[in-house]
């Protein structure tokens, strides 16, 4: 373990160059950004296999194909959503999102906002060329008012979005800006973004050589760029100009450019990357009215989204233990169907199984003090009741046929059997009264199977009369079927049989 910890990660720029031919237009600003990213990567101290580049759609979004890392070229505007899922699934990864002004601020504007506010651990590089390049030259959400493009031949009439102000409004914890034409500066800003824990947002002014070639001319011109850009350093005064002779001070709520020849250095604003109000002011300063602020505008620490989830997982495990599926399934009101009950209904009356404890208790008591009638009832078996031969029908029989049969045989109950002649239900005159009369219109087309009591309790073999009486009184039965070992009906006893037996016995 110590070996891996102390192992220096030695990577070079070449390790990050993929085998794919770069297909951007000659002179495109993307080449510069790609080169600086490939230059910075080896300095991060991160294993190459832990780096992932995710993009959406657009010229900039070809980026992952050219990086020899893990990567996804996803769908228009959605790169932050994939990056978020990936960061949650694997918080150890070093995730970069590459996007453009159309991809990130138009179709994907919502995702950008939420990735920023959640502080997901990802670095977002937004290539801002203020034009749609891949679709060949339409206005973008950052195109200036009046910009003439293929989709706006008379000039745009929309106000552009300011990416820095948007990021700040979304509570981004790291906000910075750089430009493709200043590789040194770009590399520094990317390094700082890489070091940030949480969402880092870097706007890069990028030149579209084909559809918007003059957009950044003023800021890119080496002879003049120091006059029109304001390089930010945390803790340092906001001074710019080739000769460092100009500065920014506040006048009321408005920043103003002043000459250091006229104003004392004390009045010049000092950059504080942790100050949100100052960040808002810097974000609102747009060229050519102000020098364009370049560098890290805001850099604060907040917990990352994935760290929050992992913390909750750790807490939950500490408090409730590692999840136990069996406990989860049982986290509700439970009830148990025992094999005994099951047998009671399905195996129909196998003696030891149908005797419930209450009955056994009663038998126990009876043994202590019994009447002659009780003795007789426990000694004599149900065969003494002269059980009737069962009249059986199958479940598909119609109710009209069933009732005709009951009438013909003058019986109060029919036994319903399955294909193998096993007991499957019982249908009694009480069922006729309660479930059929007045409720079923067409008796000829109603099946007895729908109206019978399925899987009735039955007596197996030849148990004592007491048991039959007990079952009848416990459940309120007027009829009890008798079955053989195979659950085939052998007889039926009725309440009337019991009364007749008692009459005989008492006579």
């Amino acid at each position: 373990m110590s070996e891996t910890l102390t192992n220096e990660i030695t990577l070079t720029r070449k390790d990050f160059v993929s085998d794919q031919t770069v297909r951007w237009c000659p002179g495109c600003g993307d080449y510069s950004i790609l080169a600086q990213v490939q230059r910075v990567m080896p300095e991060l101290g991160v294993e190459k296999e832990k780096i992932v580049f995710i993009s959406g759609i657009g010229c900039s979004s070809r980026f992952p194909y050219y990086m020899d890392t893990y990567g996804i070229h996803s769908i228009h505007g959605r790169a932050p959503t994939l990056a978020t899922g990936l960061a949650i699934a694997n918080p150890d990864l070093n995730i970069w999102v590459v996007t453009g002004d159309g991809d990130g601020l138009s179709i994907g504007g919502n995702h950008l906002i939420h990735a920023l506010r959640r502080n997901v651990n990802m670095k977002i590089i937004l290539f801002n060329n203020r034009i749609y390049g891949l679709t060949k030259g339409q206005a973008s959400p950052t195109s200036r008012v009046g910009k003439v493009t293929k989709s706006t031949p008379m000039g745009t009439i929309e106000s552009p979005v300011n990416p820095i102000s948007l990021a700040l409004a979304a509570e981004a914890t790291f906000v910075a800006r750089s430009i493709d034409s200043n590789p040194q500066h770009l590399a520094e800003v990317l390094s700082k973004a890489a070091a940030h824990k949480g969402t880092a947002f870097v706007e890069v002014y990028q030149n579209c050589v084909i559809f918007n070639p003059d957009e950044w001319n003023a800021l890119s011109d080496r002879t003049n760029r120091d006059e029109v850009t304001l390089n930010l350093e945390h803790g340092m005064p906001l001074i710019f100009g080739k000769d460092k002779d100009k500065g920014i001070r506040m006048r009321g709520f408005t920043p103003e450019v002043v000459s250091l020849a006229d104003v004392s250095l004390d009045e010049i604003l000092v950059h504080d990357a942790t100050s949100k109000p100052l960040a808002s002011i810097l974000g609102s300063m747009e060229n050519p009215e102000y020098p364009a602020p370049m560098g890290v505008i805001r850099d604060v620490r907040k917990p990352t989204y994935a760290a929050g989830i992992m913390e909750q997982i750790a807490q939950a495990k500490a408090k409730r233990g590692v999840g136990d599926l069996n406990k989860l399934y049982r986290n509700d009101d439970l009830w148990t169907v025992s094999a005994r009950e099951e047998n009671q209904s399905e195996m129909a009356g196998e003696l030891p199984l149908t005797l419930d404890e209450e009955y056994l208790d009663e038998l126990g008591r009876a043994a202590v003090e019994t009447t002659p009638v009780q003795d007789q009832l426990t000694e004599e078996n149900v065969s003494a009741l002269n059980p009737k031969v069962p009249i059986t029908v199958d479940a598909g029989s119609s109710l009209s046929r069933a009732i005709r049969q009951m009438n013909r045989h003058n019986i109060g109950c029919l036994i319903v059997t399955d294909e193998e002649d096993r007991l499957s239900g019982i249908f009694t005159e009480r069922d006729v009264l309660m479930r059929v009369t007045g409720l079923v219109d067409d008796l000829a087309h109603a099946a007895i199977g729908d109206y019978m009591t399925p899987n009735p309790i039955a007596l197996k073999a030849d148990p004592p009369i007491a048991q039959a009486l007990h079952l009848m009184s416990l459940h309120g039965f007027r009829h009890l079927p008798l079955v053989d070992e195979e659950n085939r009906p052998t007889g039926v006893i009725s309440f009337r049989d019991v009364v007749e037996y008692l009459n005989r016995s008492l006579a």
Binding site: E49, Y65, L86, L334, V337
Partner: protein
């Protein structure tokens, strides 16, 4: 035995409908009755029916919230067609539910709510309790509001409004008495739920008891019913809704894979309860993510799948519409993931709280280009558990998205669930390719397994396997961007064949009923209970009918084609205008009779039996 003790009638099964204002606590009342019945050992099936508006105007038909529970001493597959008992808390509830009540059914009404004003709001010109309109029903008139207030007189700390909130428990008490239910389960629940407000718990329990005692002591109720415990297979049971079962199935799958469960989603009815069930399960390494929109939820699932998690999203039809773009990328990236669509009434926003099966063709074909995904559908609420695990296995085997088509009806309905032993559920094997070093052969991210055609699932963090995925057309094996026409055709066919080969992995289609049946009823999804019950009754009535219920729709089971040719007549009942019928006709060229309902309500057993008879009678 006192004179007033009524006769207890034994019933095999009863369906009760609780109906009131959406603020009356009817869902709660129904749930309590269900839990008690389940614990008592009855087989149960429930169907909540609530308005889309959280608080629609009180007293109006739009605001009626209902909950139907069917409990039985035998196997119950459906919430019951027409309820036998209706508990109506106001005139609107009576009016909305009466058409569905069984003729000669029992009605328990709160007479206090039958004021002029409420009658007018419900559109009654005269009071139905006083005119002839309820003739033939057994009506029990109970002044619930005033009786309940009187019962709670001693609760000085409660306002009348708070006392009236206990009214639903008063009604529940009456029903508990009618059906001989014990009060303990609800009592325990109340004191647990209101542990911090014991007075509220006391008041509700008092209301429950008073309702129960009312039944016991007054002569109003001459009827009492007993429904004996059902005979279910032995084991330990709980009740479970489809969404609960789905959540537990997903956690089981991720645990059996040894992976975190990533659930990226956006709130939508009727799928949100899956999120609610998963969010507390952090100790199972469940990583729920509430995204900013449906699109982001699907995007996050792609990212999490790339990262090696069991990646899942859940939504309803309108959400699928938004997700299709990223689902399509999922097909191209060839990563395993699960998309749950808890279907609701459509099109567009449609009927968020109602059920329908209208999204089958959207699931099959709702993406640009040739974009096949596996589609499976649970048959019952508890089947959602098995289907979720099955979806994970299929996704990993095919390295492709799998869509689960659930339904609002399944999501919210409850049934007893024979709790499995987690140790008996086999592990889900996941293979990631090992890292490589300099000098090894280059890694080919789209080199397919010859048997399954799946590509390797190489996850970031593995040295030497760095590769780029994307939505652009690709070359075989390397996955590099390619516009070569042959490459495009080959990759498209391979992606399709990969899904088709899942048929080797899923069970063959089972048929309920005889091989030589004249009619085969083919259904899918949440209509299972109704169709199976109807077919079973038709069989018992001597009709020549069999039933095949499809859980796997893409691919279809291997033997489906021969089954369809085995029976002279095919009937496909669906809660849409014939989407499965279209698939079956198109794929197998068989003639199919259709039965379609577009009322955003479940099928009914009675109508299903009629259609079976009609279809058999056709020449």
């Amino acid at each position: 035995m006192s004179k007033s003790t009524p006769v207890a009638e034994e019933l095999e099964s009863v369906a009760i409908r609780f109906a009131g204002d959406s603020g009356d606590g009817m869902q709660l009342t129904g749930t309590q009755f269900t839990t008690t019945s389940a614990v008592f050992g009855n087989d149960i099936s429930t169907m909540p029916d609530f308005p889309a508006e959280i608080r629609a105007p009180a007293g109006t038909l739009a605001g009626v919230s209902g909950f139907q529970v069917h409990f039985s001493s035998r196997d119950v597959l459906t919430p019951g067609d027409a309820p036998q008992v209706l508990v109506a808390m106001n005139p609107a509830a009576l009016k909305a539910s009466l058409p569905e009540l069984e003729r000669s059914g029992t009605i328990i009404v709160n007479t206090d709510a039958f004021t002029k004003q409420n009658l007018a709001k419900a559109g009654y010109k005269s009071n139905p309790l006083e005119d002839e309109s309820l003739k033939g029903y057994q009506v029990f008139k109970v002044a619930m509001t005033s009786l309940n207030r009187t019962a709670l007189e001693s609760f000085d700390g409660l306002s009348n409004k708070e006392k009236d909130r206990c009214q639903n428990f008063f009604a529940l008490g009456i029903v508990f008495w009618m059906f001989e239910r014990p009060l303990e389960t609800t009592k325990d629940w109340l004191f647990k739920k209101f542990a911090k407000a014991p007075q509220i718990a006391e008041a509700n329990y008092k209301a429950l008891q008073t309702g129960y005692f009312l039944g016991e002591t007054t002569e109003t109720f001459q009827q009492r019913y007993i429904v004996r415990p059902a005979s279910l297979p032995p084991g330990t049971y709980r009740k479970v809704t489809g969404n609960e079962a789905m959540a537990m199935g997903l956690v089981t799958a991720s645990t059996k894979m040894g992976k975190p469960l990533f659930y990226g989603t956006y709130p939508i009815t009727p799928a949100s309860d899956i999120l609610h069930a998963l969010a507390p399960l952090r100790n199972f390494d469940v990583r729920t993510f509430q995204a900013e929109d449906e699109i982001a939820a699907m995007g996050s699932v792609l990212g999490a799948a790339f990262g090696g998690a069991l990646a899942v999203t859940g939504t309803s039809g309108p959400g699928i519409a938004l997700k299709s773009e990223a689902m399509n990328l999922g097909v191209m990236l060839e990563l395993p993931m699960i998309i749950i669509n808890v279907q609701r009434g459509g099109p567009s926003t449609g009927q968020p709280t109602k059920t329908e099966q209208g999204d089958l063709l959207q699931a099959m074909y709702g993406r640009n280009g040739e974009s096949p995904i596996a589609v499976i559908a649970p048959a019952t609420p508890s089947d959602c558990f098995d289907i979720a695990i099955q979806a994970a296995r299929m996704a990993i085997r095919s390295m492709s998205p799998v869509m689960i088509l659930s339904e609002g009806f399944l999501a919210n309905s409850a049934e007893p669930w024979l709790i499995p032993d987690a140790d008996d559920i086999p592990a889900i094997e996941v293979k990631h390719p090992a890292g490589r070093h300099n000098g090894d052969d280059p890694f080919l991210p789209y080199k397919r397994d010859p048997e399954t055609l799946a590509r390797p699932w190489a996850i970031p963090g593995t040295p030497g396997l760095e590769h780029r995925l994307g939505g652009l057309a690709k070359a075989p094996e390397t996955g590099n961007v390619s516009y070569n026409p042959q490459h495009n055709e080959q990759m498209t066919l391979e992606r399709a064949e990969k899904i088709a080969r899942l048929a080797d992995f899923i069970p063959e289609q089972e048929v309920f009923g005889p091989e030589d049946a004249e009619l085969l009823v083919v259904s899918w999804g949440g209509t299972f209970g109704v169709v199976r019950t109807a077919v079973s009754r038709s069989q018992r009535a001597g009709q020549s009918v069999a039933h095949a219920h499809l859980r796997f729709i893409n691919p279809f089971p291997r033997n489906l084609e021969s089954l369809l040719h085995r029976h002279p007549k095919i009937l496909v009942p669906e809660l849409n205008s014939g989407q499965l019928a279209l698939l079956i006709q198109g794929k197998f060229g068989v003639k199919v009779e259709k039965f379609n309902k577009l009322q955003a309500r479940p099928l009914q057993i009675g109508e299903m039996r009629e259609v079976i008879t009609q279809t058999l009678g056709k020449g």
